[in-house]
């Protein structure tokens, strides 16, 4: 079956987007014959130049602009490439794709995304509710909109604490002045409200998984990051099988009938046998190829599920290692010039 899959987030840089991992996963499915269309927001995204993975590449208008222009550009790309499936993976573009998923499908571009109601579950102000529903806990937190409330919440929770935006940014603060400075920093950039959260200690563990929208899992892998970069990004990791963690992900898929990929970030306090839910990402993480590498090809299962092809949900072994490494290559300037002047590489 020929599938032309558009993938965003092909910015494989020091804080990588999830795109290249998804592209590699799809290419590894022996039965799918996949053409990868890289969708970029900047002519310098490395994926544009990685022609052994990304078959063609196009620039997209920013999702912050006029959505009609955005859809028109996708229409153009579909006309040029036959694009018939799209993986949006960046936080900033998800609202657009979720809102217009039906319109896109009517034009022949399928996606596999949660509904708007499901998408709202990721708000940090919903964390405690979701954690409770799926059988784990969440750090104590407070929603604040003023310095007075911040001070009150800090007194309540104690230092150190995390200061977070509802959707973006998180900082650890050790004192009230520090918390206040992060508070104003986040508010200036992302607006209100701000979440103040208890710092919990334990092992950081994550799950990447996907649901089919009917309560069934399309694959699930638990991991622990063993080495992270200065930006907090995984460099090495190991697969794990923590029952409570995987049960929580399963419950998340079943209870909310989640559709599409997601990641649960958790901290597991082994001493007190408590799993804290820290964050829900309504999309693939940047390291999603890890799952493919241990035999659980979630991205391929999503495409298969969307196209009505058989899906196999494989199991995996704990103790497999993930190694990220740097590499480099050299190209002529002509692809860059084409991207700058025409916005595409074919």
């Amino acid at each position: 079956m020929d599938v032309v899959v558009g993938i965003t987030g092909i910015n494989a840089i020091d804080n990588p987007g999830p795109g290249i991992g998804i592209a590699k996963s799809l290419k590894e499915d022996p039965e799918l014959s996949v053409q990868i269309v890289g969708l970029a927001y900047d002519a310098m995204e490395p994926g544009i130049y990685m022609d052994w993975i990304v078959d063609s590449a196009f620039l997209l208008p920013y999702p912050s602009g006029d959505y009609r222009a955005y859809l028109e550009r996708l229409r153009y790309i579909r006309a040029q490439t036959g694009l018939n499936f799209l993986f949006p993976v960046l936080d900033a573009e998800l609202p657009l794709y979720i809102k217009y998923q039906k319109a896109l499908e009517a034009e022949g571009i399928r996606t596999f995304l949660p509904s708007l109601e499901q998408y709202k579950l990721r708000g940090k102000d919903r964390l405690e509710e979701v954690a409770q529903t799926i059988g784990i806990t969440a750090p104590r937190s407070a929603v604040v909109t003023s310095y007075e409330e911040l001070a009150r919440a800090a007194e309540d929770i104690g230092f150190p604490l995390m200061v977070k935006g509802v959707f973006y940014k998180a900082y650890k603060a050790f004192s009230l002045p520090e918390a206040a400075s992060y508070y104003s920093k986040i508010a200036a950039e992302w607006g209100y409200p701000i979440i103040v959260q208890q710092v919990v200690t334990g092992e950081e563990m994550n799950v990447v998984a996907a649901g089919d929208g009917n309560g069934n899992a399309l694959g699930m892998v638990g991991i622990k990051k063993t080495w992270i970069t200065e930006l907090g990004k995984i460099w090495t990791g190991v697969t794990i099988k923590n029952d409570r963690l995987l049960a929580a992900a399963q419950a998340f898929i079943e209870r909310y009938r989640w559709k599409g990929a997601f990641e649960l970030e958790c901290i597991v306090d082994l001493e007190n046998d408590t799993v804290y839910l820290i964050e829900i990402n309504p999309r693939f993480p940047a390291w999603s190829y890890f799952a493919t590498g241990v035999g659980v090809n979630i991205a391929a299962n999503i495409v298969r599920s969307a196209l009505g092809l058989p899906v196999t949900v494989a199991d995996y072994e704990p103790g497999k290692l993930y190694i990220r490494f740097t590499d480099d290559f050299v190209v002529d300037m002509d692809v860059f010039q084409k991207m700058m002047l025409r916005g595409e590489r074919r």
Binding site: M333, Q337, M340, L341
Partner: protein, 78 residues
């Protein structure tokens, strides 16, 4: 003017400065002016030539050339 002379100008409108690594995109009339500047023509001559060749009155052409040159100056290309 030195930096102008070194520029590698591609016919599609991509401009690269081999000495600094900077690059620019330029539209067709911008490219036209850039080439004439490179040949050493002055602003007034360029404006007149442009008004003769393009569908634009001399006054507008003069204003636009001055504005374009100011922009080049802000990029330290002049």
């Amino acid at each position: 003017m030195d930096s102008l002379r070194q520029l590698a100008i591609n016919e599609e409108g991509f401009v690269f400065n081999p000495a600094t690594g900077e690059s620019w995109t330029v539209n067709s009339t911008g490219l036209y002016i850039l080439k004439l500047l490179k040949e050493g023509k002055d602003e007034d001559t360029i404006a007149r030539q442009m008004a003769a060749e393009f569908d634009v009155d001399l006054e507008t052409a003069q204003r636009d050339v001055v504005d374009f040159v100011e922009k080049l100056r802000s990029y330290r290309l002049l």
